[in-house]
């Protein structure tokens, strides 16, 4: 019962904060920022290697959030709404930086058979592995596997075909597995 009451309390608080933030109440906006910024910066970091750039994109996203707060409909969660804005901002940033490449050739798949190995790699290593992926692989993989977008949604947002989205995901998975295996071999090797 207590966790449920806490959730209800949080919901009421967030609603109150949203109402004030819509009226440009800076304190309310600051509280909302403090509540969601750490998570959103982590999301931006999925796509953008440099942390400073990731923070800049995160601030751009929050600026759009507070500027368009009236457009938020209470159909889904507020965090989900912010997150969608952040992902679009990240895609926009990467497009400005350079053209996002979607390589069609297989990239160095040496051993993709050890699929059952559950690695104990930590989040920092996971992020490092994702950073090494080609841009196209990374975008599709993160949007599909982590954000939960469907292939047709990914295709719309990245301006590619569904087929390209599916193939990029397949290739991303293979490459990641390969690199995880290499990591495991390295770690086992040192023991």
């Amino acid at each position: 019962m207590k966790p449920l009451l806490k959730v209800i309390q949080l919901y009421k608080n967030e609603n109150t904060l949203l109402e004030k933030a819509i009226k440009s109440n800076r304190e309310a906006q600051h509280v909302l920022f403090e509540m969601h910024a750490p998570k959103m910066l982590s999301v931006c970091r999925y796509y953008i290697k440099d942390l400073q750039n990731a923070e800049e994109v995160m601030l751009n996203g929050f600026f759009k959030v507070f500027s368009n707060l009236k457009g938020f409909r209470a159909e889904g969660s507020f965090e989900g709404w912010i997150r969608r804005i952040m992902v679009r901002e990240c895609i926009s940033f990467l497009r400005q930086q350079k053209h996002i490449e979607f390589p069609m050739e297989d990239v160095d798949f040496k051993d993709g058979s050890a699929n059952n190995i559950q690695s104990d790699i930590d989040v920092a290593q996971i992020q490092q592995l994702i950073d090494t992926l080609p841009e196209g692989y990374k975008m599709v993989f993160v949007m599909y596997a982590v954000e939960g977008y469907k292939h047709h949604e990914i295709a719309d947002m990245l301006n590619i075909t569904e087929g390209t989205s599916k193939s990029q995901l397949f290739k991303a998975r293979n490459l990641l597995q390969q690199r995880i295996n290499e990591l495991n071999k390295t770690s086992y090797g040192t023991k």
């Binding site: 750490p38 982590s42 699929n115 930590d122 989040v123 998975r173």
Partner: protein, 256 residues
């Protein structure tokens, strides 16, 4: 299924992560939001100012156009004296209808008299020669008596059915007719005096009705207030004038 296990693991670990923004992150965002709000307020003030200006222009224009109808009353008075040229019993009936038009066109007959006074002024010149004009008040009274003797029967018959205001108006018209007969000219000031006298008589009649011997308190108060206002206004103007001269003199002396 394996890729899903790995992906599930990757997803869970990444989703648990949070990264604390830099210390000045909120400050940067706040300054951007403040700049946007300022721009929004400036734009809002601009549009409000524009709307207010348009409303002001429309009000001024409507005031300007509202002044036009006043001129429409001028022909009414000008037409009536022309009718006096005909020395006929039917004149009285025609004058009565004209008078009724005047009365009906106004809230009360005192306004009709005032309108006539304004109309006399706005006609500008004293080109009322074709219509009969009164020379002097004394002459008017004598002429009035003589006129009344001449036209007594029909006027008396009508007077019983006319109100006091209508009687006054008829009297004015009659005086004008006499002057026309005497072929004399009169200035606008004299005409105004004639009309003012008629107005005063009407007000006095309202105050104290000779028939019933009742004094109308409300009208009396109104009349006193008007006098007071006039007196007060004159006093204020005089005081301002005196003080202005005093200040002017003092400044001139100081500058010397």
């Amino acid at each position: 299924m394996a890729p899903n296990n790995i992906e599930e693991s990757i997803k869970n670990k990444l989703e648990q992560r949070t990264i604390q923004p830099s210390a000045d992150a909120w400050t940067k965002l706040e300054s951007r939001l403040d700049a946007t709000d300022k721009n929004y307020k400036n734009k809002t003030f601009f549009w409000i100012g524009l709307a207010a200006s348009i409303v002001g222009i429309l009000l001024i224009a409507s005031q300007f156009f509202n002044e036009v109808p006043l001129e429409k009353h001028t022909p009414v008075l000008v037409v009536t004296p022309e009718v006096i040229e005909q020395n006929n019993h039917t004149e009285v009936a025609v004058e009565k209808s004209n008078v009724e038009e005047l009365i009906n066109g106004q809230e009360n007959s005192t306004d009709a008299i005032q309108t006539a006074q304004v109309a006399a002024k706005t006609t500008g010149t004293s080109e009322i020669k074709p219509e009969a004009i009164v020379a002097l008040t004394n002459d008017v009274e004598i002429a009035n008596n003589s006129f009344q003797e001449q036209e007594a029967p029909p006027v008396e018959l009508q007077a019983q059915n006319l109100s006091f205001e209508e009687q006054q108006i008829q009297q004015v018209i009659a005086q004008v007719r006499i002057l026309k007969d005497h072929d004399k000219t009169i200035s606008d000031a004299d005409l105004e005096a004639l009309l003012a006298q008629a107005q005063q008589d009407i007000i006095q009649e309202k105050l104290y009705r000779k028939n019933t011997g009742i004094v109308d308190a409300r009208t009396l108060l109104q009349d006193v207030e008007d006098d007071l206002d006039r007196t007060f206004r004159d006093k204020v103007f005089e005081a301002l004038k005196a003080n202005f001269n005093f200040v002017k003199t003092a400044v001139a002396q100081r500058n010397d």
